[in-house]
């Protein structure tokens, strides 16, 4: 950043970089429509299998938000031949880890096992996907665990700030306005038959991709997939497109009361852009400069120059529709307004003038150079291929990634900031002590202030 004031010892110069390629991967498709993506990586005797299903939270039936997550989680809570405890033990005695979840765009059942145990573990995975039992007892238990999670959130400032930020950001009709796991009311309303109906309409081979990364050949992976999934019924789920409309087009301040909180959790942002946007690369690099890196403008300002916080960063949440753009930080209560002001200044500064060549090269050379480090593990390779599948990215996406990053110019960054940062639409959400922050935030003149309780109900 700042140029050294005096001549410093010369920095070591790098030698020529060794070439790196994202792991080669191969696609196969079974007759029933199920897609197989295999990336052999033989460094260690371990394999990760990620089953990606077009059954994300965006597919939740209105009023029954949380269905997608409960369905995914219940897959590994019992099949027609094994109850939940037995099934878990069958996986774990193989040393296989199995996790199931649903994010906005897809459900993912992810398993990692030593190569020697993969065939047995893969059979179990097939059982999980094809014959889940949705036993009432397990349905009730997972619903109760989700309710407990929501209850915990009321006293957890970080999670609460994230959740309410989304709620204030999107129109109530948008799926994105509610938590991906559903809220108390919607989760309570979900019954076993809703989960079975969701499973039957979404978990169909045409909507399933099985990603295999690790110590295995393509042919062997296909053999396993055919054996386990080859005779699965045909069919494909209906495409579902969510809405991402913002709730407000004017600035507003939302204070979520946590009396006597020693810190304020701040979220400042607006609705961003979808993952498949043609300007994904310039926006991504622009965000790295603004708040994506440790040495970003926002972190250097709030943490290193002002010591307001332990850390401050910005992000675009990349979804099929437009996810949030958000700046996140936690600051001592008495400087909440000053910290918010600095964030606004940094957003304005990105739009007011072009960044320096130095700032650009920091971001691009980081994203370029760190690329191989992102894919050291089978789990990371499988996750990268999941992104490819979910967003329908081209097969050469990862091969072209570094060139595309290197090609970004300061002019493109400037335009991205102008087009995709909207200071006039920013929503400011603070979980903090209203007695300490309300007045100062009023003086900031950011916008109308509403105070809410921890459930997000207005109290003023």
């Amino acid at each position: 950043m700042s140029a050294p004031a005096v001549a410093k010892a010369p920095r070591p110069r790098p030698g020529p970089p060794r070439e790196y390629q994202f792991p080669r991967f191969y696609r196969r498709r079974l007759e029933n429509g199920l897609e197989l993506v295999v990336a052999p990586a033989t460094k260690l005797p371990i394999v990760t299998v990620a089953v990606v299903v077009d059954a994300g939270a965006i597919c939740d039936p209105p009023g029954r938000e949380g269905t997608a997550q409960l369905t995914a989680k219940l897959l590994i809570e019992g099949t027609q031949t094994s109850d939940g405890a037995e099934l878990t033990e069958r996986f774990e005695r193989l040393g296989a880890t199995i996790d199931a979840e649903a994010d906005w765009d897809a459900a993912a059942i992810t398993m990692t096992a030593l190569a020697e145990h993969l065939p047995a573990a893969f059979d179990l995975l097939g059982e999980v996907l094809r014959t889940p039992a949705f036993r009432s007892r397990e349905v009730a238990r997972l619903k109760a665990e989700r309710i407990a999670e929501l209850l915990q959130l009321r006293a957890e400032p970080r999670g609460l700030a994230d959740e309410l930020f989304s709620r204030f950001l999107y129109q109530p009709s948008s799926r994105y306005a509610k938590p991906d796991g559903g809220d108390e009311k919607s989760v309570e309303s979900i019954e076993r038959e809703h989960l079975i109906a969701f499973y039957e309409s979404r978990y169909l081979p045409g909507g399933v991709s099985i990603i295999v990364a690790g110590d295995i050949t393509v042919d062997r992976a296909e053999e396993l997939a055919r054996r386990v999934f080859g005779d699965w019924q045909h069919g494909a789920p209906q495409p579902i497109i969510g809405d991402d409309l913002p709730a407000r087009t004017q600035r507003a301040v939302h204070i979520v009361a946590k009396p006597e909180a020693p810190q304020s959790e701040l979220r400042i942002g607006h609705v961003g852009i979808p993952r498949n946007h043609p300007d994904f690369f310039p926006v991504n690099v622009m965000n790295a400069v603004l708040g994506g890196l440790f040495n970003s403008r926002i972190n250097l300002n709030l943490r290193e120059a002002h010591a307001y916080t332990y850390g401050a960063f910005s992000s675009f949440d990349w979804r099929r529709q437009a996810g949030p753009f958000v700046v996140s930080t936690a600051v001592k209560s008495d400087i909440t307004d000053a910290a918010a002001r600095e964030v606004l200044l940094e957003i304005d500064r990105m739009r007011a003038e072009a960044i320096s060549a130095d700032e650009l090269s920091l971001a691009t050379s980081y994203l370029d150079g760190v690329f191989p480090i992102r894919f050291e593990t089978t789990a990371a390779i499988a996750a990268a291929l999941s992104v490819l599948v979910i967003h329908g990215l081209a097969d050469d996406y990862y091969d072209r990634y570094r060139d595309r990053v290197r090609a970004i110019t300061t002019e493109q960054i400037f335009q991205a900031a102008q087009r995709y940062l909207h200071p006039e639409q920013l929503q400011l959400v603070v979980v903090g002590d209203p007695a300490a922050i309300r007045e100062p935030l009023g003086s900031l003149g950011f916008g109308p202030i509403t105070v809410y309780d921890a459930l997000g109900q207005p109290t003023t």
């Binding site: 060794r18 109760a144 290193e304 050291e376």
Partner: protein, 437 residues
Amino acid sequence: MRIPIETIRLPNGLFVSLSEDHTAPIVAVNLWYHVGSANERLGRTGFAHLFEHMLFQGSADVEANEHFELIQRAGGTLNGSTWLERTNYFETVPSNQLELALWLEANRMGKLLPAMTQQKLDTQREVVMNERRWTMDNQPYGTWLEKLPALCFPPEHPFHHSLIGSMEDLAAASLDDVAQFFATYYTPDNAVLSVAGDFEPATAIRLVEEHFGGIPRGKGKPPLPDMSLPPVFGQWKREVSPDEIMLPRLFLAFRSPAFGTPEYYAASVCGAVLGLRNGSRLRRRLMRERQVAAEATAFTFDLAKGSDLLVIDVTARPGIGAEQIEQEVAYEIDAVLRDGIDAVELQRAVALIQTSFVSSMQQAGERADRISLFATYFGKPELINEEVDRYQALTVDDVNRFVQERLGENNRASLLYVPRDNAPGELVGAGAAAEAQ
């Protein structure tokens, strides 16, 4: 699977381990200094960690935050962390940038003090105070990492006091403290350096010698007091902590054998039997069958001096009071004590530990860090290759011997979080509790 390891010791005492792997053009540089919060003096709790922050504020040839900038510009990742017994600093970089990482680490090991200023100290002190607020004071249950060691170790013991430090002690830290701490602990003979990944050994050794070789050996550090403690607490210690929380949560600790001893592995696998993943005893019994817990897990602190702690961490379901959750956990521990664990439980736990080990060894940074751990505590980085064997060699009897010796009522410490203004057992249900806030 065998991790290759080659070691050398420089004349100034720096212990260097090299672990080659040319799968990807990546190399990890990892330094452990054998100093942690245990080495802090009276009135300076939190200093080891504050000092870790200062190490990113530049050195004679590096500007403040330039360390971050240079590594990120090189396409690398980096950070540092402080623990009770050690402080580590690490970078993973493209392999052609190995020298940059070594040079940066050597520059701050050899020439930190010229870059230290009062303003930098004041800024990082504020940053750390905000870190404390963020991780501890404004986070439900956040104080557990301070309260549990305080409950489990006697007041004069080096593991007793707070790692993040009190606000008063942080406020009192001075530049003199920085200089003294640096001279005492940040010396090559009190550090180990591990390099893992894509490099040629001859080149790496030459670069290490070139950059670290000229740093003078230290004058020795004050010895830690005797860390040994009786094998058990001698009683059931209890602390109840009211907090701004919705659900009661119990941390139940047992004094356990020091990291690296044969008995440690029995303790560690016992923790896995009890709380590792969904098939573990506590998750199966308390979450699946009894349905009284929302979360359950178990872990060890991995302390290598004197004794370690095995900790069970269970959060109650809505409607389950603090007293009840403590009783439910105690009932399960008593059952283990009465009946022991069985061969299937042991086999499950060891299989999961093995997968997790192989999985983590895919990353150069994880390899280097694990190598540094064994080099720092035992001078034997090659112990990394014995870990899985040591778990696999355990018998049911080994684990049950640990259970008998350490899980009894004379060796328990409960740190029980209860919702403030709610007597234990009064939380009636999700809706009611949420409204009450």
